[in-house]
Symmetry: C2
Subunit: 126 residues, 2 copies
Amino acid sequence: MDHGNPTLEVQAQLLRTLAHPARLYILQLLRSGEVCVCHIQAVLGERQATISQHLMALRAANLVRTRKDGLRVFYRIAQPHLLEALDSLRPLAIGAAGATARRAPRLRLMPSRGRCTCPRCQASSA
Amino acid sequence: MDHGNPTLEVQAQLLRTLAHPARLYILQLLRSGEVCVCHIQAVLGERQATISQHLMALRAANLVRTRKDGLRVFYRIAQPHLLEALDSLRPLAIGAAGATARRAPRLRLMPSRGRCTCPRCQASSA
DNA sequence: GAATCACATTCGCGGATGTGAATGTAGTCT
DNA sequence: AGACTACATTCACATCCGCGAATGTGATTC
């Protein structure tokens, strides 16, 4: 069923999932490999629940996968082509800068690339 | 200003503009060249005002350009790489089909590829 | 087993978005 | 000029999304 063109709704759903600066930034964070939630939280400077909600959205869209290691949960990109597709879309955004740009959630990043207690952060804090 | 990472908001804005099945379909319609509004209206089967609003959103994002010819207004893709970027994003949507898929505006297309009085439609009605 | 940590989930509110109805506007025709 | 066509714009309402607050869950440590 869905005789006509069913994928348009699905594609729009994917785009809505991507259409938030925090989620875009999280995906960029995962570019270099898997990252724990506490790390994302430290860098983004948003509340834990808020970040968890964004991660939930990314999971629901099958864009990321998780791995539990003790108390921590590590997130990684599920579909490798995702970042390439986003990269190819980026230059178009520059041309669209003049758009109405209503909401603008303003995503303030932590100045010092916040540290958490995860191994990754301990390693880079040398 | 905007020291940190200002493009994330702009990129999210672009994605939100794209995140609607009607607008995605309009962009696909424009793939083969410029198309008048009456044609889009005939194919999409939505109200004229609704379509005009979607076109307004696409214009605000600099994704399409217009050309007036008499009473009609012809729309065309402004940035050629847009469709490529959307194509590269499409396979990811298939994997994301299991997403919550809340709204789903359901975009019903006209069965017979509706005709309007524009030259393009007259030509193909042979 | 009680406390704690790291993360997930639910609920409710405010702001943003989509759509229908009505109206406005520029161009064409007679 | 008046009527008509093709399209744009505005307003109001219903819906959706993001966020804060509060709570739940599983694993760890003492």
